[in-house]
């Protein structure tokens, strides 16, 4: 291209424009620095009589749609508009929308997003509503822990309340009854040793994979954390996930849990190539009878019951002696309120509804665990077994958080770390070290 004098000028103009854009945009970024006020001016319980429209951003359905329908049925003057985003995109979209000029009134809680939103003052501090409604009494303690955050979002389990649970989940082991029978395993294993024995028997006596799994996403580290939860100290683990100062994952119990997982992989109890299998594919394989056990959460119950009928059962990961109090990992589908909304009392009334007996029925029928643990549950089959296991865990206040909750980047250490463990390229020490490094960097 020939450089004529005529072309120089636009080039200079473009350069000047670019420079101007640079300066202007830096002002734009640097000016959004005011922390919003996140405490309500006054708090009242109940729903106002005039028509109210709320917007709710969420990712998990069920249970969101059914819960919203249940609430608006009780309060016909309240209209709730739903904005669903699929899970992989939810963190980034909810961060952007909650920090926008016109945020949704309610948003499904997500620790990765709250890490930025709470310190920015964009999420409503619910302490006063909680007191007015008596939420600490209504909602189970272990489901509320992770919803308390200190002002810097550095530590969970302490500080103000920022969300209320709408439905709970619990992690456990599903099993295929006829495969267990074929392998000569008598009912669900009662101890961890018994579980390992059962895996071996399935391998020896059937064509099925003993422990179905996909480690492409979360399935791999769910086995690991289940083992850690039954082998290790509950409080030590909680401290680490919630970010208590000085907590560490490089413990004897974690080494034992990691060692158990690698041993199972080396023995061939896990499917070949599990690192490239997604969770949903692993669940489909289990439902088709290709594997005997599957570590996953209650969210799979409805689908598995539909496909396998009476063939499928559920138990909590057993401890070494089988006499330990029940413990399991779980989380909640929870909802937080924007500090920018005028209708926070109506939004809080929705959160209160989540702990009601009517909501419990909706939570149960959509495959979740009820927030109100005393809600009567008449479900049979595998659903009943999941409910029973969950009830025991809630009674013990032993519902533990998932390990990827520890820091926003932890999932990117856990997933490849477990892949390295099961393919034999990462040692147990390296794995735990990488988790602790990520933790230290986040909490320094």
């Amino acid at each position: 291209m020939p450089t004529t004098p005529g072309l120089r000028r636009p080039a200079a103009a473009a350069a000047a424009g670019t420079a101007a854009a640079l300066v202007l945009s830096s002002c734009a970024v640097l000016s959004t620095s005011v922390r919003e006020d996140d405490t309500p001016e006054s708090v009242s319980t109940g729903v106002p009589d005039q028509p109210v429209t709320l917007r709710l951003a969420f990712t998990d359905d069920p249970p969101t749609q059914a819960l919203v329908d249940g609430f608006t049925e009780q309060h016909p003057n309240v209209d709730i508009e739903l904005q669903q985003t699929q899970f992989t995109d939810y963190i980034k979209t909810v961060k952007l929308s909650m920090s926008s000029e016109n945020p949704p009134d309610i948003a499904q809680y997500n620790s990765g997003a709250m890490d930025s939103l709470v310190p920015a003052g964009l999420i409503l501090d619910l302490d006063e509503h909680s007191e007015a409604y008596g939420w600490e009494e209504t909602f189970p303690t272990s489901a509320m822990e992770s919803l308390h955050i200190d002002p810097e979002a550095a530590e969970y389990g302490s500080g103000s309340l920022y969300a209320a649970p709408g439905a709970l989940s619990v992690l456990g082991v599903f099993y295929n009854k006829s495969l267990l029978e074929e392998a000569g395993v008598d009912g669900p294993p009662q101890t961890l040793g018994g579980f390992e024995q059962a895996l071996e028997q399935v391998q020896d006596r059937t064509d099925a994979t003993p422990l179905g799994n996909g480690s492409l996403e979360v399935g791999g580290f769910q086995i690991w954390s289940s083992l850690l939860n039954v082998l290790g100290d509950e409080d030590e683990y909680r401290d680490w996930v919630y970010g208590a100062p000085g907590a560490s994952i490089e413990t004897e119990a974690a080494k034992e849990a990691t060692g158990t997982l690698t041993r199972w992989a080396q023995e061939g109890y896990l499917p070949e190539g599990t690192s490239a299998v997604s969770d949903i594919d692993a669940q489909a394989d289990f439902a088709a009878g290709d594997s005997a056990f599957l570590v996953t959460g209650n969210w799979a119950t409805a689908e598995l019951a539909e496909e396998m009928g009476e063939e499928v059962g559920f138990f909590l990961m057993p401890g070494p002696t089988g006499q330990e109090p029940p413990v399991a990992a779980g989380s909640s589908v929870s909802y937080a309120i924007s500090s920018q909304t005028e209708n926070y009392d109506t939004a809080a009334a929705f959160l209160d509804y989540l702990g009601s007996a009517e909501a419990a029925q909706i939570q149960l029928s959509s495959g979740f665990m009820p927030v109100d643990p005393d809600a009567p549950s008449e479900s049979e089959g595998v659903m009943g077994e999941v409910n029973a296991g969950f009830g025991r865990v809630i009674e013990q206040e032993s519902l533990l958080p998932f390990p990827d909750f520890a820091t926003p980047g932890m999932v990117d250490q856990l997933t490849p770390g477990v892949q390295g463990l099961v393919t034999g390229t990462t040692s147990e020490e390296e794995f735990l070290r990488s988790l602790q490094q990520e933790w230290d960097e986040h909490h320094e």
């Binding site: 004529t4 636009p10 424009g17 854009a21 945009s25 990765g112 930025s116 070949e272 490239a276 299998v277």
Partner: protein, 307 residues
């Protein structure tokens, strides 16, 4: 920003320079305005913002702090980055070199005598380009799986010994991933080369044939020089696709197993959206951009016409 330009041409200069190519007039700038606005708004502005974010300590929401070159130091000292760039470079073999070779071979076969069915082959080979990579990735994950099509085929021909879960195998995952790239990029290369080869004057082929050149000689001496520009373009597009690959890796292996298929764009994504470290993610993106520009410039230099 185009104010200076619209004021620029004065009446005298307009008379003096009338009709000269390359001169801007106010009318022309007005026509350009929509395109310039879109370009600046959606390309220049985000790019400049990324550069600017790369100097900040920022989680995307809280007030940003000036971080100087910290993010760049963090980016280039991250051991994962070197590995990821290495993987990206290796992907160039599968995204660029093999597709160009396949594209040339297809062009040689389809150009000239074979007329019937050319459109059919063109559509079939170009189809992978049209499909969204997310769908492509999910399908290939099944094709490569333990009991997938490839292993079933190996079993049928008695090669069970070679069967493995390709994407779950640390040694083969990257190559398996790369071959998906080969599959998608070959059609694109073929399309480009076909259009280039069709521009070549048929009399050149006839002259070569009269001089006794066979099909191979004709291809090497007539068609190949004729598509030189297209090869350079294909090289640039596919190299960028290899180094900046994200969607395909994200849905098939997500960097696994154990980081064997990490690519730079995946690290950028994790930093920005999982960890909320916009500054470090932007710095990494800037490093990646510089790398891509360097490589693309090298390709353009090697493929230049007047050497």
């Amino acid at each position: 920003m185009n104010e200076g330009a619209t004021n620029a041409p004065r009446p005298e200069s307009r008379v003096k320079r009338r009709g000269r190519p390359g001169r801007a007039s106010s009318g022309a700038w007005l026509y350009l305005l929509p395109a310039v606005a879109v370009y600046v708004g959606f390309l220049v502005y985000p790019a400049v913002s990324t550069l600017q974010f790369s100097f900040l300590e920022w989680d995307g929401i809280a007030p940003p702090e000036w971080g100087g070159l910290d993010n760049f130091v963090q980016a280039v000292t991250d051991p994962l980055l070197a590995e990821a760039i290495g993987n990206g470079l290796l992907l160039i073999v599968f995204f660029t070199l093999i597709p160009i070779a396949v594209g040339l071979a297809m062009t040689a076969l389809l150009i000239g005598r074979v007329q019937r069915g050319t459109t059919f082959y063109r559509v079939v080979f170009f189809l992978p380009q049209v499909l969204p990579l997310v769908a492509v990735g999910t399908t290939w994950r099944w094709v490569y799986s333990d009991e997938g099509m490839i292993n079933q085929f190996l079993g049928l021909v008695g090669l069970e010994g070679l069967a493995r879960p390709w994407l779950g195998d640390e040694q083969f995952a990257l190559a398996a991933l790369g071959l998906i790239g080969t599959w998608t990029m070959s059609g694109l290369c073929m399309m480009l080369f076909m259009s280039g080869a069709q521009k070549v004057d048929t009399s050149l082929h006839e002259a070569a044939a009269i001089d006794g050149a066979g099909p191979v000689r004709q291809f090497l001496s007539v068609t190949l020089p004729g598509v030189r520009k297209e090869i350079s373009i294909a090289g640039v597009i596919t190299t960028i696709a290899a180094l900046a690959s994200f969607d395909l890796v994200f849905v098939t292996t997500n960097g696994g197993p154990a980081g064997a298929t990490n690519v730079p764009a995946l690290l950028v994504y994790r930093l920005a959206f999982n960890e909320g470290d916009i500054g470090a993610a932007s710095a990494l993106a800037v490093v990646l951009t510089v790398l891509v520009i360097a490589l693309v410039s090298a390709i353009r230099y090697l493929a230049r016409e007047d050497s």
